[in-house]
Subunit: 417 residues, 2 copies
């Protein structure tokens, strides 16, 4: 079974709009074990659409097409389908009734241009659109099923669920079973992740893929066919064993979500003192619903005056060691913990760039300190990259420190029981 997706629109080829339809269609199809084989994008010109339709229909069992079904002159998909498959356009009564009904329930005036949306290639089946005015259509050409949908994500996805997925499952009633698991890993480069996993053979037929979203690496485990779930589960055990504490989470779980979850479990309270990250650590933690259970405050002390006022960093530390120093990071962590009376205080201070670097402390120099129930830690980092990267790497290492501290507390508590 080979499925293709074709997205149509000048806006997708001139940089005005990123194509999100392909990935959201693919995500729904794969949950029904219907994998997508190829995707293509063409502009609004009829010749381009005809060429893409002809090619994809000849090489695939099914093609899902989105875009170009609107009422305006630059919507040419139905016309192109008529040309590609030699079935002249004609007024489709069912489509016209649905369009009229839609305008009636919306209590909106129906512009004559909207009648054009009922002109469909001959022998098409109408696909009802419960969220908009443009009907979709389905036609068969030789061995291929072609499904045409509007480009608006909300309309298109509902039609995919209502009509296309049932139609595909009817044609391919027993798609090969597909199971997958995603493991997010922190603190190891991609080749190191791969070589650690490869130290033990994975169950037969389990495919391994990697996706780097610095500074984390996502490991994808996939299997098809009989016992696919079991084999993926066994592979997951191997990956966990190979990567140990570097495993952050499974499935959709991000580093920030895992950190928040574990902190909530421990019941520990947290305060942050951020300098170079400028609020990013707090932002990532408070993206998670429920962060108020542990985060008491974060003090973004961009100026030295703020470090002295809010965190009681001694002025002579700033004078003798500078704001970007081990001594200052420790003083910040202690200061915010004491002021907030929380269990953990974590502080970062560094040089994110593009200015401010020196020979001694180049851009990317970051000091991180954490003081908590298990003692005090401080470390110096030299992160690569531009301002954005230095900031995100710093924030992720901070989250990872908190995650590990929480996990140790949890496993320690379990062992004591």
């Amino acid at each position: 079974m080979k499925i293709a997706i074709l997205t149509i629109g000048d806006e997708l080829l001139n940089g005005d709009l990123a194509d999100t339809n392909t990935s959201s269609i693919a995500r729904r199809l794969i949950t029904h074990s219907l994998p997508v084989h190829e995707a293509a994008t063409t502009g609004d010109r009829e010749t381009g659409i005809v060429a893409a339709l002809t090619r994809l229909a000849a090489t695939h069992d099914a093609v899902v097409v989105t875009g170009g079904l609107g009422p305006t002159v630059d919507d040419r998909t139905a016309k192109a389908a008529a040309t590609a498959f030699d079935r002249p356009l004609s007024l489709n009564d069912m489509a016209l009734r649905q369009i009229r009904e839609r305008f009636r329930t919306m209590k909106r005036y129906m512009h004559p241009a909207n009648e054009k949306q009922a002109m469909l290639p001959g022998r098409s089946t109408v696909i009802a659109n419960r969220n908009g005015t443009a009907p979709g259509f389905h036609l068969q050409h030789h061995e291929a099923d072609l499904y045409f949908l509007p480009g608006v994500p909300r309309e298109m996805l509902a039609m995919l669920d209502d009509y296309i997925i049932p139609s595909l499952l009817e044609r391919f009633p027993d798609p090969p079973l597909l199971s997958q698991q995603i493991v997010t890993v922190m603190g190891l480069p991609e080749p190191e992740v791969e070589s650690r996993i490869n130290s033990e053979p994975l169950p037969e037929g389990v495919e391994l893929a990697f996706n780097v979203e610095l500074p984390t690496v996502q490991v994808k485990l996939r299997a098809r066919g009989k016992d696919a779930r079991k084999r993926v589960d066994r592979a997951e055990v191997i990956v966990r064993r190979a990567l140990g504490e570097h495993v952050v989470g499974f499935g959709d779980e991000t580093l920030a979500a895992a950190t928040a979850k574990h902190l909530i479990t421990t019941g520990l309270s947290l305060s942050l003192a951020e300098s170079c990250t400028g609020g990013l650590i707090a932002k990532l933690l408070t993206d998670q619903a429920g962060a108020s259970a542990f985060l008491e405050r974060s003090v973004v002390t961009y100026a030295n005056s703020a470090k002295i006022d809010c965190l009681h960093v001694p002025a002579d530390i700033l004078e003798h060691h500078g704001a970007v120093s081990e001594a200052c990071a420790v003083a910040m962590a202690r200061g915010v913990k004491d002021a907030s009376r929380t269990d953990i205080g974590l502080a970062v201070t560094g040089i994110a760039g593009p200015d401010g670097g020196t020979e001694d402390k180049p851009i990317g120099t970051v000091f991180m300190a954490m003081t908590g129930p298990d003692g005090e830690y401080v470390e110096k980092f030299l992160f690569q990259g531009d301002r954005e990267q230095v900031r995100i790497r710093t924030a992720c290492v901070a989250l990872d420190w908190l995650r590990r501290l929480a996990m140790h507390r949890i496993s320690g508590a379990t062992q004591e029981e």
Copy 2:
């Protein structure tokens, strides 16, 4: 001149990742009047990559390919190019040197797997990657130029600017003239933006397009041919006049960048007190290099104890009005301004969800207060959407308040002169 983009990766066809490379490449090419004719996506299988490369090379003058150049087993683009164009892989000395040099400057251990990234199809020109380890390469096949880049956006875009655009402009020195301008607008819905602009006719041949990135709207003005630049400039004047203060910036300038720029110009200092935004406002401002010129601190007071300690919010305000109230927002803004001795204090407090909403104060209720050299403002908002949307809308309105305050100071100062 026909240019195609080919993106490679299973993650693009199984719904794990939306393809943003195509639109960001297209956006850069079009600013050099280099339009993209077609885009395609294929998975990691070699046969699929070979078929796509063969087809696109036969039908286009240039093909920009991204993805599949990593060090792991599922990276097969170089191998597929070698097969498609019949030039066996060989170790490219220049590529190997660049990879080694990259690891050396990063002070990171080079895993043997990374040597694979220097195995390139014969007679390729290496495209240097200044942001990562995977070198790109350029090869010519019959009439087509093929450019291969890694999939990581930051690496890929720099290589596009450094090598591919100059190479394309050398081959096509006189592309048809195209001019465009982007105007970013805050505080008006898309139909209102459109109707205000349409109240005055635009110069002939200037196309208008909209791109909504809530809560801002981007207006794109485009013209081709003779005098394209002049006509776009005249259209920009009309748009400025129609939208007035709602115009945030031009070209790539974001709301946060415009706000930072204007604050720096005024010389005013700023402190923030954030509750529901949890550091997001500070994060957006400190994304901008040079934010230390105005931002003294941001206090993320997630807990009531932090509001009392850091901002001296009177306990009876929290008791009688609650943390999400006009009185609390005003007390927070005054508190942070007084403590930091800055010119401006801005505070937000609200309910981002998914929990915490009540009948009286549903999710999306936000109070914002600003106290500064021109007086004190406070406003209640009811933002639509989920946690993420409420947070981003709140942060953008806060940035817009600061931007307008700064702009009024600047224009006031100019008038006084």
